[in-house]
């Protein structure tokens, strides 16, 4: 079974993010970029499936600028067999990404598509779900456990009420949550070998989709600075402040 894994190039999670002085966007100049942590978990899951003999080939894909090929090389070093780069300099949005991936699903016919549940830059948590809708494939999101048996996959989902396990018929889409696995470190010999693995480049136009942005970013503000707290004299005073000042009751 072929596994298609989608990865995204995002700001490294350790970076202290700064907003541009004109508030038009986050300042990305020379900021350290990395593979989205949930995407790392997706790659790891695919590699584990291959080690178990369930997946026979892992194809890593990213939609993004030329520099995003670094993330594909990382995926190849971790165990992906080949990579596809959908090159675009436009801001990548959930629907555009889902459309591109839907085309690749059509081309590659994977048994399983594994994505991170969300990207840590946009935090949208939409792409996997949109991809399922576009392809008509079943989805198991927020996976904390994945178990393939024959032509079915059981996905344990982390939901607000606890854990829910669904059974999907392959081909299916899985989005990863934090506790699914702990990603491995790439081995040096594999980093060296990754250079030789196939990496093909295409564009949204070649896939027959538009990568035009549908969302206009109006303003970016840093989170409000923490205000000092105050002490109240009684529960009544507390309730009064919550009702009339904080307006949360």
């Amino acid at each position: 079974m072929k596994a298609l894994v989608a990865v995204k190039r995002v700001i490294d999670y350790n970076v202290k993010i700064r907003v541009k002085p004109d508030h038009s966007d986050v300042d990305l100049t020379n900021v350290k970029m990395a593979m989205n942590p949930f995407c790392e978990i997706a790659v790891e899951e695919a590699v584990r499936l291959k080690e178990k003999g369930v997946a026979t080939e892992i194809v890593a894909v990213t939609i993004g600028p030329k520099a995003a090929q670094e993330q594909l090389r990382t995926a190849l070093a971790l165990g992906a067999d080949r990579a596809i780069h959908v090159e675009t300099d436009e801001r990548v949005e959930s629907l555009g990404a889902a459309k591109a991936l839907a085309k690749l699903v059509e081309q590659e016919q994977p048994g399983l598509v594994i994505l991170g549940k969300q990207a840590i830059d946009s935090d949208n948590n939409q792409t996997g779900q949109m991809l399922a809708a576009l392809t008509g494939l079943p989805q198991g999101t927020f996976a904390s456990a994945v178990n393939v048996e024959g032509d079915k996959v059981q996905v344990t989902r982390e939901v607000d009420g606890g854990l829910q396990t669904v059974e999907l018929t392959l081909p299916a889409i899985v989005t990863t949550d934090l506790r699914l696995n702990e990603p491995r470190y790439a081995k040096l010999p594999d980093i060296m070998k990754a250079k030789k693995k196939p990496l093909s480049v295409t564009t949204p136009a070649e896939l027959g989709i538009s990568d035009a942005s549908r969302v206009k970013l109006l303003k970016v503000e840093p989170p409000a600075e923490r205000q000092g707290g105050i002490k109240v004299g009684s529960v009544d005073e507390l309730v009064d402040k919550l009702k009339n000042e904080a307006k949360v009751l």
Partner: protein, 594 residues
């Protein structure tokens, strides 16, 4: 302590602009070292260092090692970290592919080793021993010996040690007493005691391979009588697997000031029938083999200086950005982080300037190592071999001394909290203290620089280096923006020239000359640092002109160079004065007056 953040941008800048990574990748055998691959390697090494080595650094310091009935127990996390490090193939990074390594040039392995030392020096000393031993075996071992031992050292399946020091033989190896007596089948039995053996005993691997200096019965006296022996902890059975325990005992481990995670062992060879060992290389040629390894090891210790200094700097900078204390001396406004105080900012800028200067020197020298080893043209390879030989004592002696200063100043930035172990900078300070001592003390490096590297060849290579300084200074003269850096660099070159002339003129005055050896070492380090900073400014300026996407970083480097010229470079002049004047006074002061 804040998490380590590998200084990839600084490292990449120096690799590309100062050390000519592109040129090194053009050397035969280095084709893999493309920009993309090197970037991927550094990225992954940074992740591993931060994710696996850094988290156990403090634990290693707090728990240290224990000796229980001749078994050495290492700190929590050591076995797992070693397994991961070994399995990820990092030991073979720069070792030849024909023996299982990845064959990447020294220019690429140097920043990687910087990251290992920055995050966990005590741990990193273990795999470092494998690299050194592999290099010794490649030089001196027979084909049969290589077949038996080399691959497992390169892969890290077995661990390695270097056994030189004895209680009466430290800086002076001529005093070595360990003896080797011929035994059956061309092997030998060794008797004696070795001290200060890092990782001399542990249980992290199924076998430990000791390389030991000892005297054969017919050995000439002094250093020319030392032979090199391979003595395994476990003798190999018919299948080549560890079998019977050899006659080696760990009889104590040292209680040290730092690097507690590294067990520093006293090993007793031959308490019973003698430890069985195999001669590596020709009889009485042991030190020559060791010397080739020691040059490399000295360089790595210089890298430790930068590595620990970098970690200390990162911690201090982070603290200075967060800690609020005192009033702005100009405006009187309170409530700002201490970074606004001129004294604190001065310390941090000074630390960064010295870090970049040292890194510039070390990475450039790493590239020279590769050229010396691989360049097809003999005269080019030879030139850089001489440059490497000249600068090796500076790389070790100066970078370790400065590394200690940086850890010390980081504590100062932290104030009281720096003295408290919890913040972690105290550990860096303690771990750093050994680096000016082992692998040849600062004094030994200085004597090597003065005696062997300058006087013996009448300063020939030094003068070639000075000419390089002048070339850079000429590029700066008349430069639209950087003209002000020309004179300070020329002054450094003049100082070196005049110093070289003076030393050669006073060659016969041995005692006075060598009294000034350490000041000479500092002078040379500072001057080389000034040269690297000037080159850095030129490179940063060129990049600014080509693409101004990140002006603040590049402008920062240029101002850093100015800061170095204004505050560090002049100190070389003081050392120049000291080295001429200290000697005569020293001779006149009687020991009785002390």
């Amino acid at each position: 302590m804040i998490d380590y953040s590998a200084p990839l941008r600084d490292m990449q800048f120096i690799l590309d602009e100062l050390a000519d990574l592109e040129g090194i990748a053009g050397l035969p055998g280095c084709e893999d070292a493309s920009y993309d691959l090197v970037s991927a390697v550094l990225e992954e090494a940074g992740k591993f260092a931060s994710g696996v080595l850094a988290p156990i650094n403090q634990v290693g310091d707090q728990q240290g090692c224990r000796l229980e009935k001749e078994r050495v127990l290492t700190p929590d996390g050591w076995p797992e970290a070693y397994d991961q490090f070994r399995d990820a193939g990092w030991i073979g990074l720069s070792l030849p592919p024909e023996h299982g390594g990845q064959g990447l040039p020294k220019l690429v392995s140097t920043p990687v080793w910087e990251m290992w030392f920055s995050t966990n020096m005590a741990f990193a000393m273990l795999p470092q021993l494998n690299v050194g031993q592999a290099e010794a075996l490649m030089i001196a071992a027979s084909e049969e010996q290589k077949g038996t031992w080399l691959e497992k050292i390169v892969s890290g399946e077995w661990a390695a040690t270097m056994n030189l020091t004895e209680p009466q033989a430290g800086s002076d190896l001529a005093a070595t007493r360990m003896r080797a007596e011929p035994a059956a089948d061309g092997a030998y039995r060794l008797f004696g005691q070795k001290i200060y053996i890092s990782y001399g005993e542990h249980e992290l691997t199924p076998n430990i391979v000791h390389l030991v200096l000892a005297r054969l019965p017919d050995a000439p006296p002094g250093v020319k009588g030392l032979s090199l022996f391979l003595v395994p902890k476990y003798l190999l059975d018919e299948r080549g697997e560890p079998g019977e325990k050899n006659d080696i005992r760990c009889i104590s481990i040292e209680h040290k000031m730092g690097i507690h995670g590294s067990p520093t062992c006293t090993l007793s060879y031959g308490d019973s029938d003698g430890a069985l060992g195999y001669l590596v290389g020709e009889p009485h040629q042991g030190l020559a083999t060791m010397f080739v390894m020691m040059n490399d090891a000295r360089f790595n210790v210089g890298v430790q200086g930068v590595a620990l200094g970098e970690r200390a700097y990162q911690a201090a900078l982070d603290y200075a950005r967060e800690r609020v204390q005192g009033r702005d001396i100009v405006t009187g406004v309170a409530g700002k982080p201490i970074l606004i105080h001129p004294d604190v900012k001065r310390m941090l800028v000074s630390m960064r300037a010295r870090l970049m200067a040292m890194r510039g020197l070390l990475y450039t020298a790493a590239g020279w190592f590769d050229i010396a080893r691989l360049h097809p043209k003999a005269e080019v390879a030879d030139k850089y071999r001489r440059y490497v030989d000249l600068l090796m004592p500076v790389a070790k002696g100066w970078c370790t001394e400065v590394g200690n200063d940086l850890c010390d100043e980081a504590i100062q930035v932290f104030g009281g909290m720096g003295f408290v172990e919890e913040t972690g900078v105290a550990q860096l300070f303690r771990d750093a203290r050994i680096i000016t001592i082992y692998e040849g003390t600062t004094g030994i490096q200085a004597n090597d620089l003065l005696g062997r590297k300058i006087l013996r060849e009448e300063g020939a290579t030094l003068r070639e280096l000075i000419a390089d300084f002048r070339k850079t200074a000429a590029e700066l003269e008349g430069h639209q923006r950087l003209g002000d850096l020309s004179k300070p660099l020329n002054d450094q070159a003049t100082l070196l020239e005049e110093t070289a002339d003076w030393l050669l003129a006073h060659k016969a005055d041995t005692a006075n000359l060598f009294a000034g050896a350490v000041p000479l070492l500092h002078l040379m380090g500072i001057a080389c640092g000034a040269w690297q900073m000037a080159r850095m400014a030129l490179a940063a300026d060129a990049r600014l002109a080509a693409d101004d996407s990140d002006p603040s970083y590049l402008e920062g480097l240029i101002e850093l160079a100015r800061f170095y010229m204004a505050t560090q470079a002049p100190q070389a002049m003081a050392h120049g004065h000291t080295l001429r004047h200290a000697g005569p006074v020293l001779t006149r002061i009687s020991d009785r007056s002390l």
